[in-house]
Symmetry: C2
Subunit: 207 residues, 2 copies
């Protein structure tokens, strides 16, 4: 389920909000760096325990001003999501480009945190980014768009550390229903393809 | 694409390797804590920049003993993958239970890093975990199993912060082909379901 409210309703961002967003983005970038490093340590080292202590010390400092929230974050959601969110350290992040003909495009090299089989991207990660880019290719109206069905086909293994071109486009509309297709391409060949059905739907919180 | 070589070939782990794994796991746990906290900071705070500096300082210390690797990590891959990997901070992580009848089961509450629409799990994340648990339900022979096709159906939105029961089972075999189905269930109702075709395949590195 991926909403695209941010594309339907761009909002003004104040200078103070910009500074704040920049700081969060810097934290996420710093976290991505260390998440990746931890994947690459190749021998036992006492430093690993020191790092855990250093991280926990930073968390303890952060926990003080933070209010626990259960449902939402106060920032614009599109900077926080787990695929494109520049402020979310688990997002690669995928930078989407919207072309004039409605095609959505992105370029990315996957690193070790996204590895399934040795040297290849985890199949679930390919499914996740395809859901994201297909839903981005379906322009929302006043109502958010959610995924109803996604079919992913794996044509060839997707290696780590090679540039992956991601492309998606809307193929059909019928009332509240939208269809889209897309591909993950390496060296001009389709590695993974997907088709999705998306529906305009107002989500109500479960609590 | 998800290999399950670790289930086919359990290996001996030396005490030194166990200590090392424990340290990596502690680092990943500490990283998950701070990744989550960064999602929940709800106002601009100078501490955010201090945290980024603290993280970069830890990365710089780590970079010294680390050799850059491009294809593999030396640890067992199943502790590193982006879904179940206890040593991978981007993994929730999903703890799989293998029942005697072949069913694979897991329980998890998704937190803010996995949010798509406000208060709900990103649809791509549901697809990712379903690929993972379905492939785990397909017992490998001597050859790793990779995903060939995955279809995911979204029946109702999956909220954050509620226990999600994940179940998967193999449904059919034919030569090198295996089929599996599975569901993400909340309050006894299927929120997301999937069916997948998996194939025994020896992956060759692209480089």
């Amino acid at each position: 389920m991926t909403t695209l409210e941010h594309r339907a309703r761009p909002r003004e961002v104040s200078p103070a909000e910009q500074d704040y967003a920049a700081a969060l983005e810097r934290d996420a970038t710093a976290l991505r760096r260390i998440v990746d490093l931890i994947q690459r340590v190749d021998s036992g080292h006492p430093l690993l325990l020191e790092v855990a202590e250093g991280l926990d010390a930073l968390s303890e400092r952060l926990e003080n001003p933070v209010e626990t929230v259960t449902e939402t974050v106060s920032n614009p959601g599109w900077r926080h999501d787990p695929v494109s969110g520049v402020e979310n350290a688990i997002a690669p992040p995928l930078v989407l480009e919207f072309e004039s003909d409605g095609t959505v495009r992105a370029e990315l090299e996957f690193g070790l945190p996204y590895q399934g089989p040795n040297a290849f991207v985890h199949g679930g990660v390919s499914a996740m980014v395809l859901d994201h880019i297909l839903s981005a290719a379906v322009p929302p109206g006043d109502t958010p768009i959610v995924t109803a069905q996604l079919t992913v086909r794996y044509h060839r293994p997707l290696p780590l550390f090679v540039p992956v071109t991601m492309v998606a486009r809307e193929t059909e509309r019928d009332g509240r229903k939208r269809w889209a297709t897309g591909e993950l391409v390496i060296d001009g060949q389709v590695a993974v393809s997907a088709e999705g059905l998306f529906i305009e739907k107002q989500l109500k919180s479960a609590r």
